[in-house]
């Protein structure tokens, strides 16, 4: 028997939900109009409206909580699709609720990590991001949450509607959010996709930020010729049609040449160089400690770099197979190159701007008068003081990268076609969008909520970094 949307609790909660949503939206609209009128007539807004809309918002929150509670407490099958999804997500929801509750309570003692929890916006953002991080961890680590194998089709459930019963025994009894055109479970694919998105997006963004930093700091600090050349290059890349580059990278002739591995070597070498300069500039006056620290940091990093870059069967193979446990997918390299290409010039400009400001400060002059090297000043005097805006920007940028990942998947670039990542799934669902909407919507909603969460988190962090000044 197929599931309906809200099951038994829906009979009571659906009308309540409709009422509270309607009331809240109406009051919000009224408040907006009142605020505009108040600006026009230069009078303060009546506080009654504000209070009313706050209460309506709280009512809406309560009804939502009621759905969640019903989904977790009542037996599966009686609570409909919504209840089923909530019940599957229960471990993630409970973890997030605990972590957020503790963080809000202890925000003063958490230092930097407590910052987002001082504002509502930041807390909501952190909760959304954390929800997907926990989901990815629980699925990737323990196989929880998903109902079916995201890659295995059940042929009778091709394009099945949400709540369709599964004919095979021993499996979860329903396709909660329906089946896709290859008869795989849409819900499980969305959950599995979170793992891919949440490993690649932050890593790729971090690489891009590191590349942007390594170029932006010298451009801003040294100025002159260095700045002119690097800024011009950044402008050139920003003006370049990047889609063309992506297609070039996946054409077989280019893909089999030495170009992609060489690019990978350079790209993944940037963090290596960055760390080396970081350590050396700090410890240059103490040769013993310098060598020791450099070795301790660089040997594992160099091995990691070699393992990622060297790949059997390509022109770049230099590591013996025994030492080479990592063979990342070739498509992944395209993703990294794409992300770095699109983001590094923007990060570069931000870092350069911040550096131009910070290098005029007296503490930079003080560092110069005690004979520090430019590298030390850039990495240890300038960079720590540019961190506020950079952290905010990196949060936003992870969001953009997630969307870019989706875009790449949408063009069939990057990841393998059966990958459950959200971009590829949306692309898959697009083909039959006019007939079957349900395969495309869940990954789109997941993407939206993650990016929204990252943006809100960035807003919350920005608010706090402003308040501290």
């Amino acid at each position: 028997m197929p599931l309906d949307w809200t099951g038994t609790p829906g009979a009571l909660l659906n009308p309540l939900l409709a009422a509270s949503v309607g009331l809240w939206l109406t009051l919000l609209a009224l408040r907006l109009v009142a605020a505009l009128v108040a600006v026009w007539r230069a009078t303060p807004v009546a506080p009654g409206l504000r209070r009313a809309s706050l209460w309506a918002g709280r009512a809406l929150g309560l009804v939502t909580c009621a759905y969640v509670l019903a989904g977790m407490i009542l037996p599966a099958g009686t609570t409909g699709i919504v209840g089923g999804v909530i019940a599957r997500f229960a471990p993630a929801i409970l973890t997030v609720a605990t972590v957020i509750g503790l963080s809000v309570g202890l925000r003063r003692r958490l230092g930097v990590f407590g910052l987002p929890f001082h504002s509502t916006v930041g807390t909501i953002g952190a909760a959304l991001v954390l929800f997907w991080v926990v989901t990815a961890l629980l699925y990737g680590g323990f196989g929880l949450i998903a109902t079916h194998d995201p890659l295995r089709p059940i042929s009778s459930l091709r394009n099945a509607l949400p709540g369709s019963p599964v004919p095979e025994a021993g499996l979860y009894p329903h396709y909660l959010l329906g089946g896709d055109s290859l008869a795989r479970d849409v819900f499980s694919r969305m959950v599995a996709g979170s793992v891919i998105v949440l490993t690649i997006a932050p890593l790729a963004t971090l690489t891009a930020v590191l590349v942007g930093l390594s170029l932006g700091l010298p451009a801003g600090y040294l100025g002159g010729w260095t700045d002119r050349v690097l800024s011009f290059a950044a402008n050139l890349i920003l003006a370049f049609p990047v889609i063309l580059l992506f297609y070039l990278l996946v054409t077989p002739e280019v893909a089999s040449s030495a170009l992609p591995p060489v690019m990978a070597a350079v790209l993944f070498g940037a963090p290596l160089a960055f760390v080396a300069v970081l350590v050396h500039s700090r410890l240059r006056t103490q040769p013993g400690r310098n060598a020791l620290t450099l070795a301790a940091v660089l040997v594992p990093l160099a091995w990691l770099w070699a393992a990622v870059v060297s790949q059997a069967g390509t022109p770049v193979t230099f590591l013996p197979a025994r030492l080479d446990p990592l063979d990342p997918d070739r498509g992944l390299l395209v993703v990294f190159v794409a992300v770095v290409f699109v983001n590094a010039p923007i990060v570069f400009r931000i870092v350069r701007g911040l550096t131009l400001d910070i290098r005029t400060r007296d503490y930079v002059a003080a560092a110069r008068t005690r004979g520090e090297t430019p590298a030390y000043i850039m990495l240890w005097e300038v960079l720590p003081n540019a961190r506020g805006p950079l952290i905010v920007d990196t949060c936003l940028r992870i969001g953009y990268t997630t969307i870019l990942l989706g875009t790449l998947g949408f063009f069939g670039l990057g990841l393998p076609p059966e990958s459950p990542d959200w971009g590829s799934t949306i692309n898959e669902g697009r083909k039959l969008l006019l007939v079957y909407v349900h395969p495309a919507l869940p990954p789109a909603a997941a993407l939206l909520s993650l990016v929204l969460g990252l943006n809100l988190l960035a807003d919350g962090l920005r608010e706090q970094s402003m308040a501290d000044r």
Binding site: A42, R361, D362, T369, R370, G371, E381, P384, N385
Partner: protein, 699 residues
């Protein structure tokens, strides 16, 4: 007669995330029409909050929790926002510290000035422009038509502040509030702006609320004075009465912490105020100054709130027509304290005899290229920041470099520390030439030997690194100490020497006050036992009470290490206090040089004369000759021909012929031993009288 502005029992609190902070408590003051009242106090005492409360512009977190503010008897707190707007900018006008913050950078000066009568009085644009031109002439700006057409960024700081004052006076307000209007300006410009405000207010009958920390200016401008401390008025009364007979320990301590150019440190040692102002959330129960007060008596001063008491019980007010309050003080022991007793002072370090020459500068020229695009025509332009600067610096002595901004004194500091390289001339440290050697190419010993103390306490320390680690880093770079533990111990020793608690080592700079940060900056500069320390205006951004402490610390550190100190300042009071010798710089040239006594006594270079006369002095016993300089420092890209000072010189007509226009004067040695760069004939020089004459000016 009702006063123009009457504030009765005003209390203001600010709400932070988790508590309420009282900023002003129970403040009462009146200003009569046409009267000038000074509100004096250190930063954080609540004086700017009073101004904001008058205009009810406290922001979202500030709230008036008690009292009334009446303008002409009308309670401003009952007014509607629209009625309040009609008063702001028309009856009450405010001038802020930073003129650029009050000017719209995207509008011409003329359009901004014309807006005032167009908005408040509805006059036509043409009529408004006519009035704008008239007022620009009133504030003594040259070439009013050009000024009206220019944008704010095309004017100098002094000109911008004049425009802001012109804009304020445009609507002929009843009350003008000036919030530290001259703090960002040079002394000579400050003197002219203050004079201007005083004259304009007299002629228009505008009342003045003058908020400042500079006691000297108060005496020049104001009829009455209100001294604030930690949100309260501690002393109030007619300005001269208060200055002649201070009756609150805080006022007296503030006064004794200011160096005056009439006395050296051997005659009038500075007295520092111990401790810091209490935070608004930790106010002491009784007298708020008691914890820092040398006269406080336990059981009396800390028992409960102290009321404002009249200094002479039953005394009638001095001027009943103005309804002025008599001299009042918030001190319970004001009759018991021996006010004229000499201060038990910090023991001035005996001056050490100057040692051998450590630094020799001869014929130094420093030019900066002006950035220009590929398509600019003509010859490459340069800023001539230093021209033909020559001096010696001996071990253990203090050489002060004095001049307005743009005089090239900071460039000199940058050349010595290697941040900039000299274009021509010799700079020798012992026997090593260093003028052309950037700091990156100097060996660590030389780098450690020439260190610098910076001006801005907010900027001098890296905000992300703990204080201890910053000092330790200096030790590491100078290769001092065997290992990390040893350097840690030395760092703690340095903290002791600059009188900071050892616990400060783990704090971030933002947890320290401005004075404490400056102490860390000094500790860092002295980490490598330097032979030369260049201090670039090290105290000018600090409160007066802190200035004295930091100055004394510098003297102390210098005496302890036998360091030569190159002290850059525009504050002649401090220069007189600590310098052995003085260089006066103008537009990159040294215009006068000599021992402190020689420079501060006639004959003067006309520029030194003007600088000395511009210093406001908070002492009614000191008389000053007024010399007000017109105009601004010319551009160093395009210096005037002949004498660099000829465009502003008030004695140019005493030089025969057009010598000043044609020829650069040589730095010549006077019979008394000082050197000046001036064409004035010996007879004129010999006839000069002292600028400052007073009780102990002879020293």
């Amino acid at each position: 007669m009702t006063p123009l502005l009457a504030i009765q029992g005003l209390s203001v609190t600010f709400a932070t995330r988790d508590r309420l902070l009282p900023a002003v408590t129970d403040l009462t003051l009146t200003i009569a029409a046409g009267e000038a009242l000074a509100l004096v106090g250190e930063s954080g005492c609540g004086k700017s909050t009073v101004a904001a409360a008058i205009l009810r512009d406290l922001g979202p977190s500030g709230r008036i929790t008690g009292g009334t503010v009446r303008l002409d008897g009308q309670d401003l707190s009952t007014l509607s926002p629209a009625a309040l707007r009609a008063i702001r900018g028309r009856r009450i006008v405010m001038v802020q510290q930073d003129p650029m913050a009050s000017l719209n950078p995207a509008m011409t000066v003329g359009a901004q000035l014309a807006e005032v009568p167009m908005i408040h009085e509805g006059v036509s644009r043409a009529a408004a422009m006519v009035r704008a031109r008239a007022i620009v002439a009133d504030v003594q700006l040259p070439d009013p038509d050009r000024i009206l057409r220019s944008y704010p960024h095309q004017l100098s700081g002094g000109q911008q502040q004049r425009i802001v004052i012109a804009m304020a006076l445009m609507s002929r307000p009843s009350l003008l509030i000036l919030d530290e209007p001259t703090t960002a300006l040079d002394v000579t410009v400050e003197a002219a702006v203050v004079q201007l405000v005083k004259d304009l207010c007299r002629s228009q009958g505008t009342a003045l609320l003058f908020i400042t920390h500079n006691l000297g200016l108060v005496l020049d401008v104001c009829d009455r004075i209100c001294v604030m401390y930690a949100g309260e008025v501690v002393e109030a009364g007619p300005a001269r009465a208060v200055f002649d007979a201070m009756r609150h320990p805080y006022t007296q301590a503030l006064f004794r912490a200011i160096p005056v150019p009439a006395a050296s440190r051997d005659h009038r040692p500075l007295v520092t105020i111990p401790g810091t102002m209490p935070q608004p959330d930790a106010l002491p129960p009784g007298c708020r100054f008691a914890p820092r007060c040398a006269h406080a008596v336990a059981g009396l001063c800390d028992a409960g709130p102290v009321p404002l008491l009249p200094v002479r019980p039953g005394a009638t007010t001095l001027d009943t027509r103005r309804a002025a309050l008599p001299h009042m003080t918030r001190c319970l022991r004001h009759t018991a304290i021996e006010w004229d007793a000499a201060p038990t002072a910090f023991d001035p370090q005996p001056r050490t005899a100057p040692g051998p020459v450590v630094l020799r500068v001869a014929g130094l020229h420093t030019h900066y290229p002006v950035a220009r695009s590929l398509f600019a025509r003509g010859r490459a332009q340069v800023v001539r920041a230093n021209t033909d600067v020559t001096f010696d610096l001996h071990a253990g002595e203090t050489l002060a470099v004095v001049g307005e901004s743009g005089s090239g004194k900071s460039t000199l500091a940058r050349v010595l520390t290697g941040l900039v390289t000299a274009t021509a001339g010799q700079v020798r440290f012992h026997d090593r030439p260093i003028g052309g050697v950037p700091v990156a190419d100097r060996d660590p010993a030389t780098v450690a030997a020439i260190q610098m103390v910076f001006q801005n306490p907010a900027d001098t320390l890296n905000p992300s690194v703990s204080v201890g680690r910053q000092i330790q880093r200096a030790l590491t770079v100078f290769r001092i100490g065997r290992n990390t533990a040893d350097r840690q111990e030395r760092m703690l020793g340095l903290l002791d020497r600059v009188r900071l608690p050892r616990s400060a080592a783990d704090r971030l700079p933002r947890h320290l006050s401005g004075g404490q940060r400056q102490r860390v900056g000094i500790a860092r500069a002295f980490a490598g036992t330097p032979q030369v320390v260049v201090a670039d205006e090290p105290v000018s951004a600090l409160d007066v009470s802190v200035q004295a402490a930091i100055t004394d610390l510098l003297i102390d550190m210098q005496a302890r290490h036998g360091t030569a100190l190159l002290f850059i300042s525009h504050d002649l009071g401090i220069v007189r206090y600590l310098a052995d010798r003085v260089l006066v710089m103008y537009l990159g040239y040294v215009v006068e040089a000599g021992s402190t006594a020689q420079v501060f006594a006639p004959p003067y270079h006309p520029y030194t004369e003007a600088l000395l006369s511009a210093v406001p002095i908070a002492d009614t016993g000191v008389k000053r000759r007024q010399v007000i300089l017109q105009g601004d420092v010319p551009s160093a890209v395009n210096p005037p021909p002949g004498c660099p000072f000829q465009t502003r010189c008030h004695r140019k007509d005493q030089v025969p012929g057009d010598l000043c226009d044609r020829m650069l004067p040589d730095l010549r040695t006077l019979p008394g031993g000082g050197q000046i760069r001036c064409h004035l004939p010996d007879a004129v020089l010999a006839a000069m009288t002292p600028v400052i004459a007073g009780t102990d000016a002879a020293g």
